[in-house]
């Protein structure tokens, strides 16, 4: 009963999310299809070398992939197919898009998951410590370091880590080895540098968010009350201050996930040669392989929308006073 408004809200939000996703899908489709290159481009060099009639062969290839039809027809076809669960055919890799995604999503997922865990865990710990020891040397040091972490360009950090730990010290490989089994120590070791690369920016941001959220609550009256009751400081900080600071923190962390992760993971995958979704969409853009580009954009968008919705719902459970009407 209490949450009946929540159900209506979720339905409304889902409906709204679908419209946003459709808008983004359409824009991406149009952007890719009006692009200058054609799926036939990669055969051009061979064709020219073998002395065949190039225009004829290009026309044949374009007819084969259906890209010679009017763009409106391609669009309606693509949307109907997508609606039926058919994600199309990737012509640059010669396999169904859905197979391609099934093969590659895990690489992005493991990178993003490990980086987020690393960043959230360390970030929250350091943030709490920094807030509790406000205006001490440690606090200043961590604040300064977090500025550095936010400002360091993550792709450059990746290159520097490769330079120091792979090229100079030889501790890691300079690229991500795809032959390793996913759930193994070697794979974990191969992910150390990418996780640091992607996680450092997030870590620094979380330190700052946690610190300011903790400080907001540390000055509240209920903290004084808790201390006056004679509660040990550990309980005051852990139960009273942190619980209340957690609320804004969860929102910010989840909302950030979208922006930091999609920009950062994309570049991190390219720097380390991790064959995740960022990498395949990057290659697909250059090959004008529009079904892949649109599909990856769609997945990215859906994840962001879903995370936003889940954040709002978690919020209502963490703080029952909140109502979205």
């Amino acid at each position: 009963m209490r949450k009946s408004w929540l159900r209506d809200y979720i339905i409304r939000r889902l409906f709204y999310s679908i419209i946003i996703a459709w808008g983004i899908l359409t824009v991406t489709f149009i952007l890719v299809r009006v692009g200058p290159s054609s799926p036939a481009d990669r055969y051009l060099a061979n064709l020219a070398a073998s002395g065949q009639d190039v225009t004829q062969v290009i026309a044949a290839i374009e007819a084969r992939y259906g890209v010679d039809r009017p763009i409106w027809e391609q669009y309606t076809d693509y949307m109907t197919n997508l609606f039926r669960g058919n994600w199309g055919w990737s012509f640059s890799t010669s396999m169904p898009v859905i197979e391609l995604i099934k093969k590659h999503w895990i690489y992005s997922f493991q990178l993003i998951l490990l980086s987020s865990l690393f960043a959230a865990f360390l970030g929250i710990l350091i943030g709490i410590y920094s807030a509790v020891k406000q205006y001490t040397k440690a606090d200043y040091t961590f604040t300064f370091l977090s500025f550095i972490g936010i400002s360091i360009p993550n792709f450059w950090l990746g290159v520097m880590l490769i330079l120091i730990f792979s090229v100079k010290l030889g501790l890691f490989k300079t690229y991500y080895d795809t032959t390793l089994p996913l759930f193994s120590i070697e794979n974990l070791k191969a992910l150390v540098l990418p996780v640091i690369t992607l996680g450092t920016g997030m870590l620094a941001a979380y330190v700052r968010y946690t610190r300011s959220a903790m400080l907001d609550n540390l000055r509240k009256v209920f903290v004084t009350t808790a201390r006056a009751k004679g509660l040990p400081e550990r309980i005051v900080i852990g139960k009273h201050v942190f619980r209340n600071a957690l609320l804004p923190l969860v929102t910010i962390i989840l909302f950030d996930l979208g922006s930091i992760v999609f920009g950062g993971a994309y570049l991190t995958e390219i720097v380390f040669g991790i064959p995740g979704l960022g990498q395949i969409s990057f290659k697909a853009i250059f090959a004008n392989d529009y079904p892949v580009v649109v599909a990856v954009t769609l997945i990215g968008t859906l994840v962001v929308l879903l995370v936003n919705l889940v954040t709002d719902i978690i919020y209502t459970y963490l703080d029952p006073r909140i109502r979205y009407d």
Binding site: I20, G23, I24, V27, T28, L31, V32, V34, G35, P36, F144, F147, I148, I150, S151, I152, P153, F155, W156, V159, M160, I162, L163, V167, K168, T174, S212, G258, S259, F262, G263, Y266, L267, I270, V271, S281, F282, I285, F286, V293, V296, T297, G300, T301, V304, L305
Partner: protein, 320 residues
């Protein structure tokens, strides 16, 4: 006639003085923040470097294979060199020279000259693209808040769509489609980067809209134009300055990242392009990847310090 002129001068002087007083007040408060002052000093240095540096350094495009992969001054590296007479590779020690204080790249171009002209590109992109984004965002935010109703609804739903779009993917797509020229890169970043500004300016204007001075202006019969441009926008200026300072690093990084993945303008030596080339020569010439990255990092850091200091000076309670 003369009277009118005098009035105008007095008004102008008053405007100047009251504003200078504010500026010096805020400067005082920002100045107290040591990190912000350091940030500002570095930015001033960078602007000077970008403006006059290129006249003092060597030609950044001059290729010289005789002097390729020279390390920076103070460093010595071993290079294997092909000896034409014996037909063998010999290893010889190469030390940095003062002719190329920051070394040279794999084509023998002077790194110092390239870094200096890269500063020009990065600052140019950062300022222009941020300018476009901020102006767009402010207009959309203020109009949205002021008119409310369906205008607000349409604009904010559009902002939502733009915000959900994976930003970097959109940039890559646009730049790939329209070709990697600096103008399109700037436009792409500017035209996609306004959403945050619009949101923040809108919420600030929403609270301003109901204040007494706006109400008074409207009661006196001020037009929409006047209320928006004389009352709302001047009151969000401090917020806009802070947002602008804090978004410049993101813009500079976006350009560098695009260049880094091969979508930069090949005709201008930006830091991202040097970095991209350096990434492939890590084992022979590490400094090519290190130097532009350090500049990029320091620039972003400087703007973040300054933006943070300005925000604290303008509004110590704000949380952006």
């Amino acid at each position: 006639m003369i009277k009118g002129l005098e009035d105008t001068i007095i008004k102008l002087r008053h405007f100047w003085h009251s504003n200078m007083r504010l500026v010096s007040y805020y400067w005082e408060r920002t100045h107290r923040n040591r990190l912000a002052t350091c940030g500002l000093a570095f930015i001033v240095f960078l602007v000077l470097l970008a403006l006059i540096g290129p006249f003092l350094t060597l030609d950044p495009t001059e290729v010289n294979f005789e002097e390729k992969n020279l390390p920076p001054v103070g460093f010595t590296v071993e290079q294997s060199v092909y000896n034409i007479e014996t037909g063998e590779f010999i290893t010889k020690k190469v030390a940095g020279t003062w002719k190329h204080p920051l070394g040279t790249d794999s084509k023998g171009r002077d790194m110092l000259a390239m870094i200096v002209s890269g500063a020009r590109v990065s600052l140019f992109v950062g300022l222009i693209a941020t300018g476009i984004a901020i102006i767009l965002g402010t207009i959309i935010g203020v109009l949205s808040a002021y008119f409310g109703g369906w205008v607000d609804n349409v604009m904010m739903r559009f902002t939502d769509i733009m915000m959900t779009f994976p930003f970097f993917l959109l940039l890559v797509l646009i730049v790939f489609i329209f070709g990697p020229s600096l103008i399109f890169i700037i436009l792409a970043i500017g035209l996609t980067g306004w959403t945050g500004t619009a949101r923040m300016v809108r919420s600030e204007s929403l609270s301003l809209r109901t204040r007494e001075f706006v109400l008074a202006a409207r009661a006196l019969g001020a037009s929409d134009n006047r209320v928006v441009f004389r009352h709302l926008i001047p009151n969000v200026i401090s917020l806009i300055i802070v947002i602008a300072t804090l978004s410049i690093p993101g813009v500079i990084l976006a350009e560098a990242a695009l260049s880094f993945i091969g979508l930069g303008d090949p005709t201008v030596p930006s830091w991202g392009i040097i970095l991209e080339a350096g990434q492939h020569s890590l084992d022979t010439a590490w400094w090519v990847a290190v130097e532009p990255g350090i500049m990029l990092f320091l620039t972003v850091l400087a703007f973040n310090f300054l933006g943070d200091g300005l925000r604290d000076a303008f509004d110590p309670k704000s949380q952006i």
